[in-house]
Amino acid sequence: MRVVVNGEERALAPGTTVDAVVRELAGEAVRGVAVALDREVVPRELWAQTVLAEGQELEVLHAVAGG
């Protein structure tokens, strides 16, 4: 299953959740992390139950210095 994660196409196992990808990228310290799936916010409480699908675009964001 191909999913675009932060602009890069990745091959993920079917059934992979948003939560799994977030923890792989950001580690366990997920305070200050936000996720958009196909441009819309996925609230934290839905990460574990949101299963990714072929062709979706996931953005995993956090705070950086700037602005």
């Binding site: 950001a26 958009a36 916010v41 995993v60 950086v64 602005g67």
Partner: protein, 269 residues
């Protein structure tokens, strides 16, 4: 009463109301451009600022050099996320929603820019985004042009402040249009925060003397040769400019006005 006793009983500086809260510092700090997180932390501490702004970007697992959030937490500062880098209302609204999710705050410094050369605000998209976000319950602090009409529109949209630029972001060119800024200040019923273009302490003091309620500084501190010393200079400048505004300056005159009485002048010619 002696002068000393009178000074001691004088009312303290007015606190700074913004977004339903009251702040002590009228200096808001950006976080971009510092050479390291340690330097950022020292400069933020020296600035005396209570509010700091951060941006949202993709998580990069390769970069493990610490988070500005840790600095914000250690110093006990109030986090103001921003929508830096957004070009459309849609992007900015989505970024604001993500920031609310990430940081648990409905405060947002709204930036919608028109191009990457001037970094000037895109006024039509800016107003649209402001209206949408106010409708969703955000405390919206919009970076805006130094345009009194646009400032009026943003205020009418329900923004908690207006944040006009003095000159382009990062230019350090100071306040290009003091007249416009004065008109914005004169009309505004929400706080006016000078948001961009400050180069050095005198620019910040001037903004406050012109009647701004607060000043936001980023590059002028973070890219200074000594950011910590400049942060302290900005703190003093904002305080001095505010105090001078409250003290009431003398009017500008074309010609001199002697301060020594003419009467009693001896004939020595």
């Amino acid at each position: 009463m002696s002068v000393r006793a009178e000074l001691a009983t004088r009312a303290p500086d007015e606190p700074f109301p913004l977004g339903g809260r009251v702040w002590r510092s009228r200096l808001i700090m950006g976080t971009g451009g510092f050479r390291s997180l340690a330097e950022m932390e020292a400069a933020l501490a020296a600035s005396g600022a209570e509010i700091v702004t951060v941006a949202l970007r993709r998580v990069d697992p390769a970069a493990r050099d610490g988070s500005p959030l840790e600095v914000v937490d250690r110093l006990g500062l109030f986090l103001l996320p921003n929508t830096a880098g957004c070009y459309t209302a849609r992007e900015a609204v989505r970024t604001a929603r993500l920031a609310r999710e990430a940081f648990g705050t409905s405060w947002i410094k709204l930036e919608v820019i028109g191009d990457d050369r001037t970094l000037y605000p895109e006024p039509v998209e800016l107003v649209q985004a402001a209206e949408t976000l106010v409708g969703e319950g955000f405390v919206v602090l919009p970076y805006t042009n130094d345009d009194p009409i646009l400032a009026r529109r943003l205020q009418a949209a329900g923004c908690a402040a207006v944040m006009p630029l003095g000159s382009p972001i990062g230019s350090g060119a100071g306040i290009n249009n003091a007249y416009n800024l004065r008109v914005i200040v004169e009309e505004a019923e929400v706080p006016v925060i000078l948001d961009a273009g400050i180069g050095t302490a005198s620019d910040a003091a001037l903004a406050m003397e012109l009647g701004c309620d607060a000043v936001l500084v980023a590059s002028a501190v973070s890219r200074a040769e000594d950011p910590v010393a400049m942060a302290e200079a900005m703190r003093k400048a904002v305080e001095a400019g505010y105090a001078a505004r409250r003290a009431g300056r003398i009017p500008r005159r074309l010609h001199a006005r002697e301060s020594t009485p003419g009467a009693g002048r001896p004939q020595l010619a």
